[in-house]
Symmetry: C2
Subunit: 180 residues, 2 copies
Amino acid sequence: MEFSNVVTGRRSIRKYREQSVPDSEVEILIDLARHAPSSMNGQPWHFVIVRNGKSKAALAAIKNKFCPPEKQAYQADFLGTAPLIIVVCVEKSRSFGREIENGILAASIIMLAAQSRGLGSVYMSAYLTEEPKLSDAIREELGIPETFAPVSILPLGYADENPTPKDLRPLREIIHFEQF
Amino acid sequence: MEFSNVVTGRRSIRKYREQSVPDSEVEILIDLARHAPSSMNGQPWHFVIVRNGKSKAALAAIKNKFCPPEKQAYQADFLGTAPLIIVVCVEKSRSFGREIENGILAASIIMLAAQSRGLGSVYMSAYLTEEPKLSDAIREELGIPETFAPVSILPLGYADENPTPKDLRPLREIIHFEQF
């Protein structure tokens, strides 16, 4: 699919058809994610593919438990209904203090690649700066070692919703030349 | 350009031809970046386009000053030679504690969009978690208000280098099923 169509067509998808997503599709997404830039080319990424109902429900419960009060409208229950979830993890010793950006840059490619393959996803964080227990709970559920930081949670499936177009802020409001 | 070719063809570019990049190209990139996901659809992004030599040199000096010892091989002097630099900023009140991911998700699209338009870029961070003076210095140089977080620095230009292909880690080393 043409690059700009992928970007403009992508929306956050939280409702999925029951149709499963084959491993071959997942591997195409992760193959592309490996091309993300990383600090000092450390390529620190690991990806945990979660399909079993117990872990999907556990991830939903963990996200709900640590959901800040102002985001209660965004419940994570739908994670239990996604055909699969990709948890993006970063090896701390290979990311030189930049695990968050390294993880997000790979997650961004996965989301866009999903769109280019007719799949839907939505970006979710796997950490809270001020509350390490969110990441700890995810690590415990998925057996992720202490030396890895879970950064992003990406549910994946064929969309069963068609969100209305977003109103975007006008360019002249958000572009500044030379000085802010 | 086809999406997967954009992703696999993108490399970090630090050497640029003198050829300038028109505003119309910059606007195409930022128009696409607006489609990034953002926490609670806050669309918190502002973009400062820097072309003047004084500010480019100042950004290079700031990045060098705060460069961690283990990254001294990556000097930022080349920022002074880029035709332009996009500084991605995020309005804190519109990003709900997620200014870093919101900024990076837009920056990722800019880098990929640049590649799709024949332009080169490289991802650079505009903050250090443990050292707020890096962001403070960037804010002061570009007149960015205290209520905005500079997140990414993206130099942009037509590539004057052709990096050798990267060795990527094998998929079987970095994909895990169900448990890490």
